[in-house]
């Protein structure tokens, strides 16, 4: 399940919904990315998507990860538009019979979102906005899975 939302979302509620009615699932790994405080007024960052394309690309990637890691399920909730400090930007959840697959797939999906998913992030600071591109660390992270 992939959801892009312009509204703030509740990671805990989404996690509980994801965990419900899983008779065969032993392990749910998850990750929440939070917007850090900037010290400036207004949103901490802004995310742009390519409506339609972005959902489909992420959906396809997640479906392949589900196969690859033999997951029972995976879900991504991603904010778009302006985001205030302290709000959740992204939530990734993976369900598997055992924890290793759940952890690895969650980690992998985050590496993908950071450097390959069609999303564009602008961070606002005291000096205005700055488009974020994948860092060296992000590129090294995604390269681990090749």
């Amino acid at each position: 399940m992939i959801r892009l939302t312009r509204e703030a979302f509740d990671p805990g509620e989404a996690l509980n919904a994801f965990c419900r009615r899983r008779a065969a699932t032993g392990a749910v790994a998850s990750f929440v990315g939070l917007a850090r405080g900037t010290g400036a007024v207004g949103p901490a960052l802004e995310l742009e998507a390519y409506p339609g394309f972005t959902e489909r690309e992420i959906e396809g990637f997640v479906a392949r990860a589900v196969e690859q890691f033999a997951l029972q399920d995976a879900a991504v909730v991603h904010r778009i538009g302006p985001i205030d400090a302290g709000e959740a930007i992204v939530l990734v959840m993976t369900a598997a019979p055992h924890r290793r697959a759940a952890f690895e797939a969650c980690d992998y999906l985050m590496d993908y979102l950071k450097s390959r998913a069609p999303l564009w992030k602008r961070e606002f600071g005291p000096d205005g906005g700055r488009w974020v591109e994948p860092t060296e660390a992000d590129l090294a992270d995604i390269a681990r899975w090749a």
């Binding site: 742009e48 979102l113 950071k114 390959r116 999303l119 564009w120 992030k121 488009w131 974020v132 992000d138």
Partner: protein, 81 residues
């Protein structure tokens, strides 16, 4: 006629996010040249590392034909999460 979309940094550099282009040139690289001729800063940005294109929401490369295409998107390096 087709819509051209720019995302992220590319839209900021060009000063627009969406434009109608009529007629469309034959290929993706000709369209890139056309946009770049009017705006050297955009030309440089489009030639930058990691810029990708999609034709009708499918990822495409430079020589791709634009025949019948309704929407062309130029996308700078991606970063979500």
């Amino acid at each position: 006629m087709a819509r051209v979309l720019l995302f992220g940094r590319l839209a900021d550099v060009a000063g627009w996010r969406e434009r109608e282009i009529d007629p469309l040139p034959d290929s993706l690289c000709s369209l890139r040249d056309l946009l770049g001729r009017e705006d050297p800063a955009l030309a440089e940005a489009l030639a930058g590392r990691g810029v990708r294109a999609a034709l009708d929401q499918a990822v495409a490369r430079g020589e791709a034909s634009l025949a019948g295409v309704r929407e062309v998107a130029f996308m700078p390096p991606m970063s979500g999460g």
